[in-house]
């Protein structure tokens, strides 16, 4: 038995022999790359030193201001009044405050904290009273930044990235995209594009730094990537973007969008009219939709994989061999259900309208997916991966 396993292992090793020899690295290129790395590290170190010398953050300034205002009250009054007053100040600041310092100050409240719902309420109110399109765009993008900060803080605290927050972030960007699509000129779309690119870079970092959250972050990343694609489409062909957005709305694409109320057609480019209703109308729901239900893939449940026969599975199957364990259907650490809604188990907040690369086999995610057919390195011979 041991000999058979050993022989099998030798055979497996032999399978990879063609790729074992590797041409040594070019010393000049290796040296250049090392030098470039060092230069970059030094630059980043220098930047960090400069940032440390800059004045304290806007949030810290505001917090100190509130604490200073509260000091005389604190001497006489106890916590309840202080709490009520500071809460009122926060709400007023959220509703009537501008972007910049106030927005970042409000961003300190996290999804698992008491004030968070108030914060969202304040955000909705503020957007409702913002009429000019560019200003609305700025506000929504600010909210998207806040969502990113909230997620970053949750992850850094060892907590899970809350799915409603991820959904909200996607809704903000969807809303921003639709706003930008109906504004004249390219500047708005470019603004949205820059933000999406920055978010995607951060998401990738988080996926690498917090692998236990990779599944959720990956799904968000895929959706933001789609929004980025639409953004870039809009920069090339604004009419095409309008059509795509209209189709997305009709298909119910994007996170939990309510059916458009009133005018079901996406606004055509032309003279600006009154600001659309942020909670409905042609731009769909407001930027803080409640996560709804839907059908599609969720993580962790999979009927796609078969347990290995050699007892190397990770958990008990339905009829585990007393001599070992195997993966049973429904328990799988290795694959993710497909993102196109064809998975066998409904997920918490899936997006039913997402397109999906047609060549992704069941159970594969973006980074699990095989490289598209014919795209591997090839000398152009007769190899046909499709056979």
């Amino acid at each position: 038995m041991q000999s058979a396993a050993h022989d099998q292992e030798v055979e497996n090793q032999a399978l990879f022999e063609p790729l074992r020899p590797v041409r040594p690295r070019n010393p000049a290129k290796a040296s250049q790359a090392r030098e470039a790395f060092l230069i970059q590290a030094r630059q980043l170190t220098a930047e960090s030193s400069q940032v440390a010398a800059v004045s304290i953050s806007p949030f810290t300034r505001l917090k100190e201001c509130i604490e200073t205002l509260m000091k005389p009250v604190q001497r006489r009054e106890r916590a309840p009044v202080l709490t009520t007053l500071s809460t009122l100040i926060v709400i007023a600041t959220l509703i009537f405050g501008g972007a910049g310092a106030t927005a970042y100050a409000a961003g300190q409240s996290l999804p698992d904290e008491t004030l968070y719902q108030m914060k969202l309420f304040g955000e909705d109110l503020r957007l409702r009273f913002t009429y000019q399109e560019q200003a609305r765009l700025e506000v929504v993008l600010t909210y998207a930044n806040r969502r990113m900060e909230e997620i970053a803080n949750m992850l850094a605290s060892g907590k899970a990235a809350p799915e409603p927050t991820l959904t909200r972030l996607q809704a903000h960007m969807e809303y921003a995209l639709r706003l930008a699509a109906q504004m004249e000129g390219e500047a708005a779309l470019q603004q949205v594009r820059l933000q999406l690119q920055h978010q995607l870079r951060l998401l990738e970092e988080w996926q690498n730094g917090y692998p236990e959250q990779a599944g959720l972050l990956l799904r968000l990343r895929e959706r933001l990537t789609e929004q980025l694609r639409l953004c870039e489409l809009g920069l090339e062909d604004p009419l095409q973007l309008q059509n795509q957005l209209r189709l997305r709305q009709q298909d119910g694409a994007g996170p939990n969008e309510a059916p458009p109320q009133g005018n079901e057609q996406a606004p055509s480019p032309g003279p600006k009219g009154p600001a659309p209703d942020p909670n409905g109308g042609s731009l769909g729901p407001g930027p803080n939709p409640e996560p709804g239900s839907g059908h599609g893939a969720g993580p962790g449940e999979c009927n796609e994989c078969e347990p290995p026969q050699d007892g190397t599975g990770t958990g008990p199957g339905p009829n585990p061999d007393p001599g070992g364990n195997g993966d049973g259907p429904g328990e799988c650490n290795d694959c993710q259900p497909p993102q196109d809604g064809t998975g066998s188990v409904p997920g918490p907040n899936p997006d039913p309208g997402d397109s999906h690369p047609a060549n992704l086999p069941a159970g594969e995610t973006h980074h699990d997916a095989p490289i598209p057919e014919g795209s591997g390195p090839t000398t152009g011979g007769s190899f046909d991966p499709g056979k």
């Binding site: 399978l15 063609p18 980043l44 730094g209 190397t312 290795d334 973006h366 591997g376 390195p377 090839t378």
Partner: protein, 177 residues
């Protein structure tokens, strides 16, 4: 604290000596890994450069590897390569690939070996990202199961199951040739 942990702590503090040691320690292995999968030296260099750049940016932002640097680096490199193939057209990828020279003396022998490596690389390309990663790390980079589990953020048992399925798929693909 063992040396690897001390190195990680130093890197997180952006200590230059630690960062240099990290680079010197892992860049060669990363390059080899990337070259085996990409088949192109320039792309492999780009992958390594991008991977270390992302490490620096993540460390600067207070993120990056929390427990070990090596699995983190290989994970980033793996993701870069997957994104690379996803964003390029098949024509661009074919043009950018070149057959690795295996240093054989006779042209027919060299051609045969080249064809085998292309065939194997193409078959690996058709596996899922995780399957490809586990096989390359196991049989080419000669990592043990625990190291691979760390890189893939899976349990050792799951890695063995993945490895088993990946080998089956790879053999099937090579047989179909």
């Amino acid at each position: 604290m063992d040396h690897a942990q001390a190195l990680l702590q130093g890197a997180r503090r952006f200590d230059e000596e630690s960062l240099v040691e990290v680079y010197d320690c892992y860049s060669a292995g990363l390059y080899r890994y990337a070259l085996r999968l990409l088949g192109n030296e320039d792309l492999a260099e780009e992958c390594v450069a991008e991977t270390f750049q992302r490490l620096l940016l993540a460390l600067k932002a207070g993120r990056g590897p929390q427990r070990a640097i090596k699995p983190y680096l290989f994970r980033v490199a793996h993701n870069w390569m997957t994104d690379f193939y996803r964003n390029k057209t098949p024509v661009e990828v074919a043009l950018s690939a070149e057959v690795s020279d295996q240093g054989l003396g006779d042209p027919p022998g060299k051609l045969a070996a080249s064809h085998e490596s292309v065939r194997l690389r193409d078959a690996l390309a058709q596996l899922t990202g995780e399957q490809r990663q586990v096989l390359v790390l196991r049989y080419l980079e000669e990592w043990d199961t625990d190291e691979i589990a760390e890189a893939l953020a899976k349990s050792p048992g799951a890695v063995k199951a993945l490895q088993h399925r990946a080998l089956g798929s790879l053999r099937r693909l090579l047989k179909e040739e």
